[in-house]
């Protein structure tokens, strides 16, 4: 079975590059190949001038990886997890401790330093693992859904830390995410993955231009759609139905007509709520033929 097929991507130095796609799109497989954890059947992986397929052991000396699992660090205190990770990145005791203290301070984790990671909340645990990933500077950070479960304060700490490293050291970031809102706000460029293929790769703005002529209309019916209204029945074939919710992508004038229809007469009685929005990355994803189930908007 092939988890991904003929993926061709080039990440520029110093950019925050995103891999966006639902669970099972092949993001994790791609990341495992990049980090030297898995050898691709064929093809090449080159990171900052190093051939990772031929020299997988070099990956660990170029990049820091934050995976989704924290089981290796769970029983350690926040402080020891960060220090040990730094030691295993080749730092001597003194530098590992200095960097540990600086990173914990930077991320606002100093007060949690003596607490075992296992005893923290999901978001704090994630932040502690992110701290460990930052000890022992690397020119490339590979972050697999780093902000899952984090509150806004922790998220801001993560992106501020990333920005600082980018500004000071030109650090490159590869971010795996299925969070479309985050993808829109932090990424320089994004590759959209679906079933192991790259279906688009551009800046978030560039991707959105592909569907710029369209407006997203969401209709939420009270119980069921009033299919006895002919205009509503005609829309059904173009709507993505999810329970009581219909999602439509329409040209602006069509959208206006639909809103006029549903906010008057028989259809209005059946309508619970409606929204009109400019397209998001999720719409791009759908327009490109992706399956949006598994994408998160938060």
């Amino acid at each position: 079975m092939r988890a991904n097929d003929a993926v061709g991507l080039e990440v520029r130095r110093g950019e925050i590059f995103g891999l966006l796609g639902p669970n099972g799109a092949g993001k994790s497989t791609l990341v495992r190949q990049l980090t030297g954890l898995m050898r691709p059947d064929d093809g090449t992986v080159e990171i900052l001038g190093h051939d990772i397929v031929r020299h997988p052991e070099r990956a660990a000396r170029i990049l820091a990886y934050l995976g989704q699992e924290s089981t290796a660090l769970d029983d350690l205190t926040v402080s020891l997890a960060a220090e040990t990770t730094g030691r295993l990145r080749g730092l001597d005791v003194r530098r590992a401790r200095d960097e540990r203290d600086a990173v914990l301070e930077e991320l606002g984790l100093t007060a949690l330093a003596p607490r075992p990671i296992r005893k923290l909340s999901g978001g704090q645990r994630r932040l502690a693992c992110f701290a460990a990933a930052l000890v022992g500077e690397r020119p490339l950070l590979v972050l697999d859904e780093p902000t899952t479960g984090m509150d806004p304060v922790a998220r801001r700490a993560v992106w501020a830390a990333v920005d600082r490293r980018r500004a000071e050291h030109g650090t490159t970031v590869l971010l795996v995410t299925h969070n479309v809102i985050e993808a829109e706000t932090v990424l320089d460029r994004v590759a959209v993955l679906d079933q192991g293929r790259v279906i688009a790769c551009d800046t978030p703005g560039g991707l959105k231009e592909k569907v710029a002529g369209e407006v997203r209309v969401e209709l939420v019916w009270r119980e069921r759609a009033p299919l006895d209204v002919p205009e509503v029945a005609a829309l059904r074939s173009r709507a993505l139905e999810s329970g009581r919710r219909w999602t439509l992508r329409l040209a602006p004038e069509e959208a206006r007509a639909v809103v006029a229809t549903v906010t008057g007469g028989a259809a209005f009685v059946a309508l619970d709520d409606f929204t009109l929005a400019t397209p998001s990355l999720e719409d791009v994803y759908l327009a490109l033929g992706g399956d949006a189930q598994g994408l998160v908007k938060a």
């Binding site: 900052l48 000396r61 995976g67 924290s70």
Partner: protein, 273 residues
């Protein structure tokens, strides 16, 4: 959310093109001994969070077995075998059984990725964890040995031999535990193999060898913990034959080196799939 656009970065996009040809400098490699020390220290700290209840279980189990056997065994060679077997059982419980479970779970949950994406020698991860688990057994083994000597009226004078028995039996059993945990295709299987290994150490180590039937006696000879038990049991005599003690300990050391080498190989194999 503020993100620095690429254009304003020092060096900017053009510089990226210019530098694109030069490979980035590689970070340092973590050397064996410092990283082994770091893994050992980190693993040892886990005792405070996760292991203390299990250390008690290991000790209570061994003490309970000795109390039971007190009714059956009067003294002499049989008592020596029971005390030595119970003390080494603590090592088997922690170093073999718990370490097999730990590595089995780490492997299944993807926790090995953390180590595999750090420039650390595989031997440092395996030896650091094995060393820590062998160290976990020290208090329980000592308590069990002292309690057993008092219970069966054995001399306490040669208990110093535990200084050699614990690390060498620990190396052999921890190596075996690590190898089982890393080779087992599923974590439940790792747990099962660890439990079986410990049960074997219990039955074949604690029961006096003279009472075992022939085939079981042969199985006893194959089990590395047996040599730790025998080395320890020999030192209770009035005039121990130290050459045999050394011979038994050498077997433990040999099995330890071999099993730790297999475990290191298994780690490498499990880390990169």
């Amino acid at each position: 959310m503020s993100v620095v656009p690429v254009e304003v970065l020092p060096g900017g996009a053009l510089a990226v093109e210019e530098r694109a040809g030069a490979p980035a400098a590689l970070g340092p490699r973590a050397r064996l001994w410092p990283s082994l020390g770091a893994v050992y220290r980190a693993q040892l700290s886990r005792a405070r969070v996760a292991r203390i209840p299990l250390l008690f279980v290991a000790t209570f189990q061994s003490i309970g077995i000795m109390i039971l056997m007190r009714g059956v065994v009067d003294g002499g060679a049989e008592a020596q075998a029971v005390v030595a077997g119970s003390a080494v059982l603590v090592v088997a419980f922690v170093a073999l059984n718990l370490l097999a479970q730990y590595f089995g779970q780490l492997r299944a949950s993807g926790g090995l990725d953390h180590y595999a994406t750090l420039p650390v020698p595989p031997a440092a991860v395996v030896l650091g964890a094995a060393g820590a688990y062998a160290s976990f057994t020290v208090p329980g083994t000592v308590v069990t040995a002292v309690f057993g000597c008092v219970l069966f009226g054995l001399p306490l004078g040669n208990l110093w031999v535990l200084v050699a028995v614990i690390p060498l039996a620990g190396a052999a059993l921890a190596g075996l535990g690590a190898a089982l945990g890393l080779l087992a295709p599923r974590p439940e299987l790792a747990t099962l193999l660890g439990q079986l290994g410990m049960s074997a150490a219990l039955l074949l180590g604690v029961l006096p060898p003279e009472r075992l039937p022939g085939v079981v006696g042969f199985a006893r000879d194959l089990l590395p913990s047996t040599y730790g038990v025998e080395a320890f049991a020999r030192t209770f005599g009035s005039d121990p034959d130290w050459a045999f003690v050394l011979g038994d300990l050498a077997v433990c050391a040999g099995v330890g080196v071999a099993s730790l080498a297999v475990a290191t190989w298994a780690y490498r194999r499990a880390a990169v799939r």
